[in-house]
């Protein structure tokens, strides 16, 4: 699993978050067709200051390099947003970004 690109911006108490994750998002069928191992992201959890603000579980039928956008009230300028990404092998990576 590769890097995550995260953008978070606060405006009037609402934090707009845009995040892109690198993953082939290949489920069983697609993987056999391409002759690769199935690899997709299972779950993404975002949190600000230890409180979960966003949580998604997904199957391999999300598009390649999933791009997620959402808004949340749970943060302000200078706080850090943390993304925990778990893939189908159970491996998880954490990426952090400051809210602008």
């Amino acid at each position: 699993m590769g890097k995550a690109k995260i953008k978070a911006k606060e405006k009037k108490g609402v934090v707009k978050v845009k995040a892109m994750f690198t993953s082939l998002m290949a489920d069983k069928e697609e993987a056999t067709k391409k002759g690769i191992e199935a690899s997709y992201i299972k779950q993404i959890v975002a949190s600000i200051n230890g409180a979960v603000v966003y949580e998604i579980s997904m199957s391999g039928f999300m598009s390649e390099n999933p791009l997620l956008k959402f808004k949340t009230k749970g943060g302000k300028k200078g706080d850090k947003i943390e993304f925990v990404v778990t893939d189908n092998h159970g491996k998880s990576t954490t990426s952090k970004k400051k809210i602008k």
Binding site: V14, K28, K33, Y54, F61, G74, V84
Partner: protein, 153 residues
């Protein structure tokens, strides 16, 4: 030797500090708690497996935006919006071998405006089902035309 041991110890502590809070954060791991929902082939079966046998009401309180005609089935932008106090939102489609695409677990008081992209192999109906905190189910359905199938198809 002592120095090496010292660094090893520090590394372990740092590792534990990073890993420990993340495991607590996971509110609901739908992949683990509802494995049968991810295997369901049809939308109706998927809804049953994920939400149980409750009645699903078609409602305009859940709105989702999607293109009528998607040129590229590999990446179809979808926006879900709702003002209801929802606990869980799931997206099902009939185009792929398994119908469940994604499940959101919504934190309390969150703004429900989620943007993401899905893959679809062929033209099919897409259903968004939301569950409120008092257990009611609402849904919205749309048909999306796919001209070039994504998903390796």
């Amino acid at each position: 030797m002592d120095r090496r041991k010292f660094f090893k110890g520090v590394g372990l502590v740092a590792f534990a500090a990073i890993v420990a809070p993340t495991t607590e954060l996971k509110a609901v791991d739908f992949r683990a708690t509802k494995p049968e929902a991810w295997q369901a082939e049809k939308t109706a079966d998927g809804i049953k497996a994920l939400f149980g046998n409750g009645a699903v009401t078609q409602s305009d309180k859940i709105s989702f935006k999607a293109p009528k005609l998607a040129e590229n089935g590999g990446s179809i932008p979808i926006t879900i919006k709702s003002k209801l106090d929802l606990e869980t939102i799931a997206l099902f489609q009939d185009a792929n071998p398994r119908s469940l695409s994604c499940v959101f677990s919504v934190p309390k008081g969150a703004i429900i405006e989620y943007d993401f992209r899905i893959k679809m192999r062929q033209t099919a109906f897409v259903t968004v089902v939301g569950k409120t905190r008092d257990g009611k189910l609402y849904s919205a359905t749309k048909e999306i035309d796919v001209s070039i199938g994504g998903c390796g198809g």
